[in-house]
């Protein structure tokens, strides 16, 4: 049923214009992020040309595209795959170890008192500084790179999951205890589901950290991967290529971030904040 509203009478031809204007505004509003990016690229391009900035300092977008095209597709895919492989392995390891560890920490005072300080120490250590040591210890291959990625992604997952598990409403735990269910079921049926929003916010942050971890590792020791490619290109002053690789990295991060969000949306729609449902 339509509720009566008070509106001023309008003539029909006067109504057409505001409608079109509104449609245009809507398009502008939808496309605002895209338009802003395009405008920025345009300013960048024009600025570089106007002030004749040398491409080894700041390449124009067109130079970056050229740089990207100067490398074979096969070579690109090889580097992307190397970075992705390391990122996802380190990330998966962090999830597989981090979440059960968080459950243990949240449920045991002894564990949280003994293990948690160690985790904080690990987290406080600059991973970039430790990376060369890890490479020496773990030798060549993916292992040291996966380890470095793991170390970077692991901590946010543990901390956020513990926070989520401990945020379970006490009334819910009381319900669970009143039913006399096992501790394991309590974790599985009550605590973990309540932690899902926390876990996913950590998973989103960590997946972008995983890319950073892989790149850091590739800076230290690697013969492929986008991080390696950037280090390699800049050492030969092929800055446009390096920028192109940077663009690929950003895209990769964004895609992974969105994939994690999509997973939450598909598997746990109830865990989304009301505004996003």
């Amino acid at each position: 049923m339509k509720s009566p509203t008070i509106s001023a009478p309008r003539s029909s031809d006067r109504r057409r214009w505001p409608d079109m204007g509104r449609a245009l505004l809507k398009v502008l509003d939808r496309g605002a992020p895209l338009f802003a990016s395009l405008l920025l690229l345009l300013i960048w391009e024009l600025g570089c040309r106007l002030f004749q900035v040398p491409s080894y300092l700041l390449p124009a977008p067109s130079a970056i595209v050229q740089g990207a095209l100067s490398v074979s597709l096969e070579s690109w895919l090889g580097h992307i795959w190397a970075t992705l492989r390391v990122s996802l392995q380190g990330y998966a390891l962090a999830v597989i170890i981090g979440i059960p560890l968080a459950v243990a920490l949240a449920n045991s005072r002894l564990l949280s008192r003994t293990l948690y300080p160690q985790l904080v120490i690990i987290q406080s250590t600059p991973i970039v500084a430790v990376a060369p040591i890890i490479v020496v210890v773990l030798g060549a291959g993916d292992a040291p790179r996966v380890a470095i990625t793991f170390l970077i992604t692991f901590f946010p997952i543990v901390v956020s999951t513990v926070t989520g598990l401990l945020a379970t409403p006490p009334a819910m735990l009381e319900l669970s205890r009143s039913l006399g269910a096992s501790r394991l079921r309590e974790v599985k049926n009550i605590q973990l589901p309540f932690a899902v929003p926390y876990i996913f916010s950590a998973l989103r942050i960590s997946v972008t950290l995983a890319i950073i971890g892989a790149v850091v590792a590739e800076f230290v020791a690697a013969e492929d991967g986008l991080g390696f490619f950037i280090a390699f290109s800049t050492s030969f002053f092929k800055v446009p290529q390096a920028f192109a690789a940077l663009g690929v990295l950003v895209t990769l991060s964004l895609v992974l971030f969105q994939l994690v969000s999509l997973t939450q949306r598909l598997l746990f729609p109830w865990s989304l904040p009301d505004a996003e449902k």
Partner: protein, 267 residues
């Protein structure tokens, strides 16, 4: 969890024996929630507990539910000291405590899923009946956040009744309901209780509700919670809307009102 024991008619269903409860507050001080509470519920008796906010009513319920160990005295069910949650007890909590990721039907069967890992066909059937009873059959597949507070509370009631508990503990179950639904639910509860007799401990803030439902009313004093008076309601059963207009109803109601609002010093 202790195993289900056979209720024994000769023993009181619930007994509080000089129960006391002192909580240590986060600021270092301590709160005496309950002091020297002694009270007995006979088998299949309906007892309402009434008292000012914060006098320890919920704490009393938690103690008999085996969720809190009293710091003094002892609580017993069928003559055995309560050491933990028990199978024959059903609880309706003060908050609805529904799981937001389960739909209404799965929330009702959740106790079975949680305890035994699975839900039988018979339990599903019973859940459907209970949902119809609380007027929510059309909402079985909705999520709790799509329900009003009163509807959520009704789901909680259906959940507590699922395993047909011999002892039912209810903590202000109708406080989120509007007056009309409240009366309706009260009569519904009386019907269930008559059909399948249970020992009921029913916490409420509403004097008319207590009078309408209970055999006896336990009136508690403000902190520290003590037994101020135990009132035999003595209104004929089955009770109906007419009960509300009986002279004795108003007589007791006024008496309780005076009791609850009387300062503790004069008690």
């Amino acid at each position: 969890m202790t195993t289900r024991i056979e209720p024994d008619g000769s023993r009181p269903a619930i007994r509080f024996d000089r129960v006391g409860q002192v909580f240590n507050g986060s600021d270092g001080g301590s709160v005496t929630a309950l002091e020297d509470v002694s009270f007995t519920l006979h088998r299949h008796e309906f007892v309402a507990v009434i008292g000012p906010s914060g006098c320890g009513k919920s704490t009393l319920l938690r103690i008999i539910a085996g969720l809190v160990k009293p710091t003094g005295g002892q609580a017993e069910i069928y003559g055995l000291p309560v050491t933990g949650p028990r199978e024959e007890v059903g609880i309706v909590f003060q908050q609805p405590t529904l799981l937001p990721w389960l739909n209404v039907r799965d929330n009702v069967t959740f106790p079975m899923k949680h305890k035994h890992g699975r839900v039988t066909q018979a339990e599903k059937q019973r859940a459907a009946e209970l949902l119809a009873m609380v007027g929510l059959e059309d909402f079985a597949t909705r999520r709790p956040n799509e329900l009003s507070g009163g509807m959520q509370q009704r789901v909680g009631i259906a959940r507590a009744l699922l395993h047909d508990p011999d002892i039912l503990l209810m903590d202000e179950p109708f406080s989120a309901l509007d007056a009309l639904t409240r009366d309706e639910m009260s009569f519904e509860l009386l019907r269930i209780w008559t059909e399948r007799p249970k020992t009921v401990l029913f916490i409420t803030h509403s004097i008319p509700e207590a009078l309408l439902l209970a055999d006896r009313i336990l009136v508690m004093s403000a902190r520290p919670g003590r037994v101020r008076e135990i009132i035999d309601v003595g209104l004929a059963r089955p009770r109906s809307m007419q009960t509300l207009s009986e002279p004795r109803f108003h007589e007791i109601a006024n008496h309780i009102r005076a009791q609850v609002f009387r300062p503790a010093a004069l008690a």
